[in-house]
Symmetry: C2
Subunit: 219 residues, 2 copies
C-alpha cells in the first residue's frame, strides 16, 4: 500500500511519541509534534485506522499496528541514512541535515535505500549517534548512559546526543566535542550539578542540562 507523505509523517510522529514499547499516544501529543490542530489529527487517526496502520478508539488514544510500525521504522531508516550521507559524503554540518533528510526520507525506492546504505558502509548510527535500523527494521543497541550520570574519573567515549536541535548541536560543536571523542568527568559541582570535563588537554565546565543530553559509553 502506497502511503502519502502526510500519512508517513503521522506514523513517524506516533512512533517517536510512543517509544519502542508502543504505548498509547494522545491526540494532542501528535498535534503538537506535527505542529497541527487536534481536530486535524483525529481525522487522520480515523484514516490510519481504516488502513490498519494504527489501533485507535475514540477518546482512548492510538498505537501503531505491526504494519504501521514497520512503515515508520522504514522511513526512519531512510532519514538517518540520508543524514549520514549528507554529513559523510557532502560535508554538511550535523546541525544542517535534519530538514533536508525530512524531505529525502519520503523518496520511494527500496533499491535506492539499500544501495545508499551499502555505499555508506551500512552505518549503524547517524551523525547524531542515533541508531539506524537495518533493512529488517532491527535497531542496533546504543549507549544509554548520559554524561550527567557517569562515574568520576572514568574514561568515556562520546556516542551521541539526546537533543538534536540546531542550538544544542552548534553548542556541542563549538565546544570541540565530536562523536567518538574521549573524555573524563573530573568533578560535579554540588551547587548546580554542573560538571568539569577533561577533553584532550583542555578542561571546561558543562551545565547539567547540557550533560544530560550527551550519550557516552566506556568503550
Amino acid at each position: 500500500m502506497q502511503l502519502s507523505l502526510t500519512e508517513e509523517n503521522y506514523l513517524k510522529a506516533i512512533f517517536f511519541i510512543s517509544g519502542t514499547e508502543s504505548n498509547l499516544v494522545n491526540t494532542n501529543a501528535v498535534a503538537e509534534r506535527l505542529d497541527t490542530k487536534a481536530a486535524t489529527v483525529t481525522d487522520m487517526l480515523r484514516k490510519l485506522k481504516s488502513k490498519d496502520l494504527i489501533h485507535y478508539e475514540p477518546y482512548k488514544g492510538s498505537r501503531l499496528t505491526l504494519t504501521g510500525k514497520q512503515q515508520a521504522v522504514g522511513i526512519l531508516r531512510k532519514h538517518r541514512l540520508w543524514e549520514t550521507f549528507l554529513v559523510e559524503k557532502l560535508g554538511f554540518g550535523w546541525e544542517e541535515v535534519h530538514d533536508i533528510a525530512e524531505q529525502l526520507e519520503h523518496v520511494r525506492s527500496r533499491k535506492l535505500t539499500e544501495r545508499l546504505a551499502q555505499y555508506l558502509g551500512n552505518p549503524q548510527f547517524d551523525p547524531h549517534g542515533d541508531p539506524i535500523p537495518d533493512a529488517e527494521g532491527v535497531f542496533p543497541q546504543r549507549a544509554n548512559l548520559t554524561l550527567d550520570k557517569a562515574e568520576l574519573g572514568e574514561r568515556l567515549y562520546v556516542k551521541g546526543v539526546k537533543d538534536s536541535s540546531p542550538d544544542f548541536l552548534n553548542y556541542v560543536a563549538k565546544l570541540g566535542i565530536q562523536l567518538g571523542d574521549s573524555l573524563k568527568v573530573l568533578q560535579v559541582e554540588p551547587f548546580d550539578s554542573s560538571i568539569l570535563i577533561k577533553h584532550d588537554e583542555r578542561e571546561f565546565r558543562l551545565s547539567a542540562q547540557a550533560a544530560c543530553n550527551i550519550y557516552v559509553s566506556q568503550t
Copy 2:
C-alpha cells in the same frame, strides 16, 4: 515563492514541450505529457499565470515567463544531477534512474544541489548524455548530430541518446554501446536505411529508428 510539486512538474512539462525558444504550448500537449486531462491543465494554467510563471491567454496557448523558465531549469538541473549520482556513485543502470530522479528533483535545498554538483565534479552531462544546466541556468552545448546522418567511415564518439525510454536504453546497453564509445558507420542499406556499425572489433546492424536516437560527434 514556494512552488508545489505539481506546479514544478507543470513548469518542467511546458519547458520540455516548448523547447529552448519558448514556443507557445498547446494545452493538450501538456495534458498528454503529464498523463492528465485538458480540463485539469486549464485550471493549472490559470494558476501559473496568476503567479507570473507563464504567459497564457485562453485558447491561445501558454509560454514560460523568465521566472517560470528559471524554475523549470533549476528542477531539470537537480533531476540530471541526481541521475548522475545514482549511476556514478550508487551503480544504478541508466535505464533505472529516471523515476527515482523524478522524486529527488523536488527536494528543496540550494545548498544540497550545489554540494551534490561539486561532489560529482560538476558534470556537464547526465548518464543519457543530456546537458546539465549550471547553477545560473546555462546549458552546455551538446552534440546534435545523430547516427543516421553521420558520414560513412568517419570516427565517431557516442555522446547521448535522444530517446530515454527504458526499452531503448536497455537495447543500447545490450548492444554493448556506452557513452564515450568510438564507432564508425560502414554502410547504409538503401532498402530500409538501416546502418552497419563497426564498434571495437565487432560489426552489427542498427535500424534507422535506433540510429536517429543516438547522438554522436567527431570529438
